[in-house]
Amino acid sequence: MFDPAAQDHHPTLSPAFHRERRDMRAMGMWLFLGSEVMFFTAFFAAYIVARSAAPGFVAMPLERGFGTLNTIVLLTSSLTMALAVLNSKRGERVKTGRYIALTFLLACVFLVVKGIEYAHHFEAGDFPSHDIFFGFYFLLTGFHGLHVLGGMITLAILWWRNRRGDFNKDYNDPIEIAGLYWHFVDLVWIFLFPALYLL
């Protein structure tokens, strides 16, 4: 009989426990993604309002080449993340580690490309205070970049825990939850890319 008072520090957790825990964490992450949707709602609503109602609003030309490259990089990282989750579900520790590392690298590429773009803008003098379009550009891509950075930190921790062997076929929901978050970051970029660069 389970006696809560006699709790020792290393209880063994059964697969049923992990499945329940995974469902709770998935619901928690979906709620967090719901709140993130609302966070970016405010920015997108403000951007759409500024474009539709401001007579003086000029959509400044941005480097579409970098934008497209970034989109492809993020989509690839979504693929590698999905494969990492798939492998961790199959208990393939080595492959999972490799795919997490690949996702991490792609995220670095994304940030580097973003950095180059920012550098070009700063050289051309397009600071956020310069024009309201650039205010929105730096606001949207800045906060998206912060979310990518947050995702990278989580991926690094997961890669290290995976190398240490924490995960197995039963217990792998941290990677799956991080996958949810990463796909959401990619989702935001999918909407952000046409809004800022193309239209």
């Binding site: 500024a50 109602a53 609003f57």
Partner: protein
């Protein structure tokens, strides 16, 4: 028993409050001077009546329950979970009342904000941190031309004519609030808001009773009103900048205006020659207040509206001095940035 009595006494306080609320409430609304204001007051009284009835019934039930169903030996609580029939009534009756209030309010809201009056007097209002500036189009009926009349802190309007205010702000959000005619609209920088009203009475100050009196245009004709010199000066002390807070002249302005010693002779004008008639009234004004927090001196941002009959209104317009400081203020903000009212964003 002691516990219950103290509760009962405290609860009797509520119905007394309700009665006080009812009788005293109507007393605080300032006397209304515009047609819209009367409609708003009527709607307010209407909703107040409904609300006080609901208030007395529900609080009464609450107090009755506490008295009748208090725990006492031999009294058992009845066990029931509630019936959907009662629920429907409890939801239906308020729904009908609320629907009625919605319909009444919607009709009045449409009259207040949606049909702008035609051929009205147009006045531009430029709010700035802690002051109101007004501009009239002048004879050529076009704003931004040299013949415009500009004043600071004080504007005159003809009585019994629709007046449309175009309000915008130079720095932060203010709010153009006329308490007597129940008008209020925020003044947002970068946006041209329009608010309109019509004054039906002329405010005059009764020197005998030291009280404000509201005269209709007809009574104003044959009332012994003194047009003292100060009625036309927008600033009592030409030399001083009178809107700085530190100099309390601004707050004291109305005190100065009325505490003239009785011996000072008031000049009563009949068209253009003085007449020695003992004046009973002096021209008075309605106040403009700022209702939106706009900075530390938000409380001192006060303007005045002089309501005048038509001829006096024209005379007042002509008598306004040209002030290039005011003109520069308009040029910088109003015409410089938003030449053709293109103030959307």
């Amino acid at each position: 028993m002691k516990r219950f009595l103290s509760f009962l006494v405290a609860c009797l306080f509520l119905p007394a409050l309700a009665l006080a609320f009812n009788t005293h409430a109507a007393g605080f609304l300032p006397p209304v001077v515009s047609e819209q204001g009367r409609q708003i007051d009527a709607l307010y009284g209407h909703i107040l009546a409904i609300v006080v009835v609901i208030f007395v019934i529900t609080e009464g039930i609450l107090i009755y329950c506490v008295v009748a169903f208090r725990a006492r030996p031999g009294h058992k609580a009845r066990f029931f979970h509630g019936s959907t029939g009662v629920e429907l009534i409890l939801a239906g009756v308020p729904a009908v009342i609320l629907l009625y209030i919605t319909v009444v309010s919607a009709r009045l809201w449409e009259r207040l904000r949606m049909d702008e009056p035609k051929n009205a007097v147009h006045i531009e209002v430029l709010a700035e941190q802690f002051d109101w500036n007004f501009r009239y189009p002048g004879p050529d009926a076009v704003f931004g031309t040299p013949d415009d009349v500009m004043t600071n802190g004080e504007c005159a309007v003809p009585v019994d004519r629709q007046v449309v205010f175009f309000t915008s702000s130079k720095d932060v959000i203010h709010s153009f609030f006329l308490p007597d005619s129940r008008v209020k609209e925020d003044v947002v920088p970068g946006l041209l808001n329009r608010i309109w009203t019509k004054w039906e009475v002329i405010p005059v100050w009764d020197l005998a009773t030291q009280k404000r009196v509201l005269l209709s245009e007809k009574d104003f004709e044959n009332a012994p009103v003194a047009f003292s010199g100060y009625a036309f000066k927008s600033k009592p002390h030409p030399g001083k900048k009178w809107y700085q807070f530190s100099d309390s002249a601004r707050i004291g302005y109305n005190a100065y205006y009325y505490e003239r010693d009785p011996s000072a002779k008031l000049m009563v004008m009949e068209h253009d020659h003085p007449v020695d008639v003992a004046p009973r009234y002096v021209l008075h004004y309605f106040e403009i207040a700022c209702a939106q927090l706009c900075g530390p001196l938000h409380f001192a941002m006060r303007g005045t509206v002089r309501v005048l009959p038509e001829p006096e209104y024209e005379a007042w317009l002509k008598a306004q001095p040209k002030d290039d400081y005011l003109a520069s203020k308009w040029a910088q903000v109003w015409d410089g940035v938003h030449p053709d009212f293109d103030r959307a964003l």
